[in-house]
Each structure stands twice: as C-alpha cells, then as structure tokens.
Symmetry: C2
Subunit: 411 residues, 2 copies
C-alpha cells in the first residue's frame, strides 16, 4: 500500500481555524442557546460593494449569450484587471505584466513555495499567518515539530514581541533563502514603518534572500506616509515578491480573488528570471481565477467601487477603535487595530488557549489564541474587527464586563 506523505505526518495540529471551529461546536453542543459572537477568524461581514456585484451580474448575463461567452481566460488574469490593480492600488510603478491574478493570497503562498527548490530555507515572523509555516512543512523544508519550542526544526522563527515593537531581529534570518514578512501584520496588527522596510530590503540584499511580502491588509493603513507595498521601498524590486488580496480590501473572502507581483528584476543565482518560472508555475498549477470573481474585481476598481471600499474600510476601523477602547478601559495592554483590522491583546503569564476558552465560556466570544500563530504568540489573543457593528458593540460590552474580573487582570 502507498505510504503517507512524511511531510503531512509532521503537522502537529490541524489548521488553526478548523480547530477553533471544532471547539466552538463542542461548546455549542453543551450550551445550544449561547449567543456566540465571533471575533475569531478574520472573516468579512459587510455587503459586497455594489460596484462589484453589478459587474458580476452584467458579466454573468453576457456569459449566457453567444457573443458574450468566454471560456478559458489568460492564466495570468484579465488585462483590464491587472491594469486596474496597477493603477488603483499602487502608488509606485508596477507593470501589469508583473501582476498575476490569483484566487487568493493563501492559494498563491502554496504555489509560491514551488518557486523555490527542495532545500530552500525559510524564515518568518513569529507569530505569523499559519499558512507560511504549513506550506513550508508540506514542501519538506522543516524537520519535525518540537513540542518544547512549539515550532518546527529547520524553520527560522523571528520573534515579534512587544519588546521589539513587533519588528524582528533580522540577523536571526542569516543565510535563509526566503523571508515571509507581513505588514500590516496578521495577527499582531503591527505595521512596519518605511525605515523598517528599508532595513528589511537592505538585509535581504546583503543576505541574498527573497522576501515574500504579504500586503493583504495594506488598505487598512490610515497614515499616508506608511508604505502600502514593499515596492515603495527602493531596491525592493531586486529582492521581493508581493502577495495581495481583494479579500479584506472589499469583502471578497468568499469570492476569492488576489494577486501576486513578481518584478522583472528579480533573479535566481543563475541569472534566470523569477518571473519566468512563476509564469510557468502559474500555467502548471493554476488555470486562472474565476472569471466571475475577476469581473467583480474589475467592477470594484472603478471610482464608485473605490469609494465603497473607503466606506467599508472606515467601518471596520471604527470597529477596531471600539474594541481597542473596551480592552484598554479594562487596563489591559492592546496592540494593533490602528492600521489593521486586528487587535493583539496581551494576557501576560496566561496560556492563549486558556484565555480563548475562558472568553468563550464567560463572554460567549470567539477569539483566536495567539499561540496558534507561533510560539511568540503565547499569552496573546487576536481580536478581529471585521464583524458587524452591532456584534462588535455587544462584544465590546461583554469584554468590558469580563476583562475586569480578577482572572483576566494582569498580576
């Protein structure tokens, strides 16, 4: 009989969010009348911008006609969409030919792992979006999971803590080939400054690394002087790839649309261009994002759509403000939530899953345990501000009620 994939065997736990779902279901079985509110998985809740839905409707009508029907589109995505992304979402020069439309950042991160050879080494922020770790494990870039360090051998974790302002000591990534870096960060909500990203780019250059920069939360940056793309940093085109997404930008989490930017300058050590291999990979592992989703994206990247996006983002950032205020009013330390829809709440000396369970039991709130994002997330819980206003307001009231009880208060 066929052997199980030894890399899958290494997974020490199920993917974080299904695990949360299982615990939620167990809770609801015991307390079926609980009024659970989720501040957990970063799922969007507000209606799709009408500019996007109207574009889909028009496109779907056309598909049912002889003249409007389209079959396979270009694997790289419709040119109009790539042009719209370049023009509307980047202040720096990105050529549409460098943009590859995807069905979401998560899916592209998995495919991006194939860009690099089996012995490529990986560094990543700790805590981090679990997909960087899991796809690295799957590609055989790691050793087994180490229970005492709560991490995988062979993977370089770059702790991002309150002490270092959530910007890691890059020297720990010495000699790693690929550095995953996410700003604004999921889960900490921290945003890297221009100076920090300059440092990152300079490090990648001197260290001969490629940065995989995840900018999925860039639309939430409120300060115009903060960079929204790694490519706003000089020299980044020689060392970075950027993955990005419509999911949080415009509530496309279910619609599935994202993109990856691979600059023409980026090269491997044999001089061959990374963009050429990425194009080949895209044709081999992918067949283009749904043309319905692409139509939605094209509709969104209009004046009307961009105005709707602004309203959407402002609404979520107001949620973040409400949640921040609730938590800080209880004397707890909270990070993030200013340029990102995530708040990172510190519970010093406590286990994340323990806090998760207590918040579910006592406040009927679903959160995300920080340790699910990596060992440095222990003692934190992530709150998502992507909910409905009414839910967020109720959640804030419940937080104020329970966080003031002694068990949640810092010693």
């Amino acid at each position: 009989m066929v052997a199980r994939n030894c890399h899958i065997e290494k997974f020490h736990a199920s993917y974080l969010f299904p695990e949360i779902g299982r615990r939620r279901d167990a809770f609801l079985k015991q307390r079926p009348n609980a009024q659970l509110i989720s501040l957990g998985v970063g799922d969007t809740t507000q209606p799709l911008p009408t500019a996007a839905s109207e574009a889909v409707i028009k496109f779907a009508q056309a598909l049912a006609t002889g003249d409007g029907y389209q079959g396979y589109g270009p694997e790289q995505g419709a040119l109009a969409l790539r042009q719209g992304i370049a023009e509307r979402l980047y202040s720096c020069d990105i050529d549409p030919s460098e943009i590859f439309v995807s069905d979401g950042a998560k899916c592209d991160i998995g495919r991006l792992q194939h860009l690099f050879g089996p012995s490529a080494t990986v560094a990543l922020q700790d805590p981090a979006y679990p997909v960087y770790v899991d796809t690295s494990v799957l590609m055989g870039r790691t050793e087994s999971y180490n229970v005492s360090t709560q991490g995988y051998g062979g993977l370089t974790y770059l702790p991002c803590t309150a002490e270092n302002g959530f910007f890691p000591d890059l020297d720990a990534a010495d000699k790693t080939d690929v550095i995953f870096f996410c700003s604004p960060n999921n889960p900490t909500g921290a945003v890297a400054t221009r100076e920090q990203l300059e440092k990152l780019v300079a490090f990648a250059k001197s260290n001969s690394s490629i940065i995989v920069f995840d900018a999925a939360y860039a639309p939430f940056i409120q300060d115009e002087t903060l960079p929204r793309s790694i490519f706003e940093i000089e020299g980044a085109r020689e060392v970075a790839i950027e993955v990005n997404s419509f999911s949080k930008l415009a509530g496309f989490t279910g619609v599935r649309l994202g993109w990856t930017v691979v600059p023409k300058e980026l090269a491997f050590n044999d001089g061959s261009k990374v963009i050429d291999d990425w194009r080949r990979l895209s044709c081999t592992l992918f067949n283009g994002a749904s043309n319905l989703a692409q139509a939605a994206g094209i509709g969104l990247l209009t004046n009307q759509g961009m105005q709707e996006v602004e309203t959407l983002v402002n609404g979520y950032m107001e949620n973040a403000r409400i949640l921040r205020e609730a938590v800080t009013s209880c004397g707890l330390k909270v990070y993030g939530g200013k340029h990102a829809p995530y708040l990172w709440v510190a519970f010093p000396g406590r286990g994340s899953w323990n806090v998760f369970q207590q918040l579910m039991d006592e406040a009927e709130l679903i959160t995300t345990p920080g340790v699910g994002f990596g060992p440095a997330g222990e003692g934190f819980v992530r709150l998502s501000a992507l909910g409905n206003r009414r839910d967020v307001e109720t959640a804030a009231q419940r937080l104020v009620r329970v966080l003031k009880t002694p068990s949640f208060q810092p010693a």
Copy 2:
C-alpha cells in the same frame, strides 16, 4: 542569491498550450489576415446554461445585501453543491462528505500531488494530459527529461496506441504508487469499458497502487452501459480517487469549478485515511472555490440546468461527428470523438508538430500536436470538437480540402 528550483529546471519545454499560442502568434504576425479556426485547446464556446447564470445573478445580488452576504465558505465547498453533485452526477453511492469542491481538475491535480510523499512513484497513460507529468516533475518525482525517449526518467509511461486499443499494458506500472488514468481520454478520445476498468481496479489492488481517475469528460459518454465514474467499479473505493470538473460538462472553463472524490475506505499503508490528509491539505493550500462559481454550479444541478447540459453535450458531439466524417472521408484513420469531444487523427510516419504547422499554413486550422501529450502521441494530432458549429463546419470543409493532398495521405 537564491537558487532556482531544480525541479523547474527539468521542464524541457513550456506548457503545451502556451507554446501553441506562441506559434499561432508568430503565424498571425506573418499572415495577419488569416482566418484561423481553433480545433486546438479544448476550450468550450457555447453560452453558459441560463440556469447557471441566473443562479449567479441571484447570488451576486444577495452578496450586496446585509442579509445575503457571505464571507469564507467551507473549504470543502457548499453542502448544497456537494449534495447536487452526488445526486445528479453519480449513479453509484457517493456521500457528499467525500466530495471536495475545487476550482478545477487541473488545480486539484497539483494539490493531489501533495497527498503523496516525495519518493512516491507515478505511472500514467501515454499520451496524457500534460498536467499529470508536469506536476510530477515539479514534485521531484522524476529525473531529467530524456531527449531520445521524449520522456522523463523515473516516470512510468504506459503507451496507449491504436494497436492496444488505447488501453495500456498495466504490468509496466508494476510497483508504482500512483496511477493517473483518464477516461474518456484526453487526448485520444478513447473510453475505457467496464471490463477494462475492472482490470485497472484489480491491478491497483494487487499492486497496492492508488488510481487518480480523471473523469472530466464523462458527460460525453453516449453509451449508457459504459461507466462514467471509477466508483461504478466494485472495489474502486479502496484504491481510487476521482477528479472531475464542470468545465466541459457545462462550459465552466472560465468560471472554474470542479471536484474531487476521496472515498472513506481509501487508506495509506499505516492505516490512516487518505480523506483526512486530503481535508488537511485542502485547508492548507486552498480556501474554497469562488462562491460565485459554486452558485453557478448549484444552479446548473437543477432539472432546467441538466436539460441545458444535455443540449450542450449533444451539440458538441454533433461537432465531433462532423469532424470525424470529414477526416474519414479523406481516407485517414481517426479515433475518439464517439464518447469524448476529442478526435485523435493518425498521420503515420509524420511528426506531430510538422502536421500541426502544415494544417496551420495550408488550412488555417489550429490543432494540438499529439506528441505534446507524450511520446506515444507522435504521429497524431488532436482535434477538439468544442467549437462553434459554424467554425466546425468550415474547419471540416478545409480538412477535406487539404487532407486529400498527397502530403497528408498515408504512404
């Protein structure tokens, strides 16, 4: 600097269809007024069934409302869609929990490669859909490309020829872990009989192999007694996975929707269930098919939608009949086109790319060179019947005109 992925370096040529596109573009540059008709890439051309487009429209309207909005769906796909697939598209018992909705068979074949460990061995029909080969190369399952054999070392090619009725000698797959098998076949158009599939299942069982069965062309089977799924064969649930697609069934090539069936009985040699690893992989590498595409699928799997599918399939099969007649009237031997939308035309003693070029030059027809699907495809050209009727009729006339000229006639 970072090294190029050694597995990508092995690719001996670009993916077949982009290569055809490049040759077409070069041709059009020289002859910009050419009236090219494509019988090449198997792209659908007929309007999307209105049952599907109407369902998308309704769903997109709902997404733009507070009550109708949905974010992330289940990674495995909407339950209503999985139930519809089980009920409408399978005559054998498939539980909806065994169905995993995807953004297409191609994408799932790439992900399926991750189910198997780095040292898993692969056998496949020759000729075959290039994605089985390319994703195997990418996973490091092969050695370099061998110019003299026109294949990759370490990969077991199972020649499917006119001589063996396009059903391979399975003994050549001795000790291989994974056997890719496609019926109705792309590119040969051959359909495996019940007896042949029983032989395949028995072989997999005795050889301890897992079959990855590609049934994307099952809707084109005209004979009710021929199996449309590997799971119609007794014992298949212990040895097979099935990948499938809405692409050819209903013109979803651009909409992107497919599914994979992993039966609960299928196990690895340590007794662990394949379906559990597949679920974990689906959560790691994928975030669900676009909910717009899923809405289209749900709309399609209604009485109205299934009637539209029947009309669609009948139209394409009439195209196949027209093309078959044209080719056979010239005295050439043609296979397929009876239970599949592909015709496999023999040009004994001639090179496939050579025939491809001559058909483009002399008949302004784009075809697909058989050798692009594997070494045993040399001397053949694939014709797709998925075009518009008017184009197909014109193409048939052109074929009759040029195939009668001496250079195309068998010696």
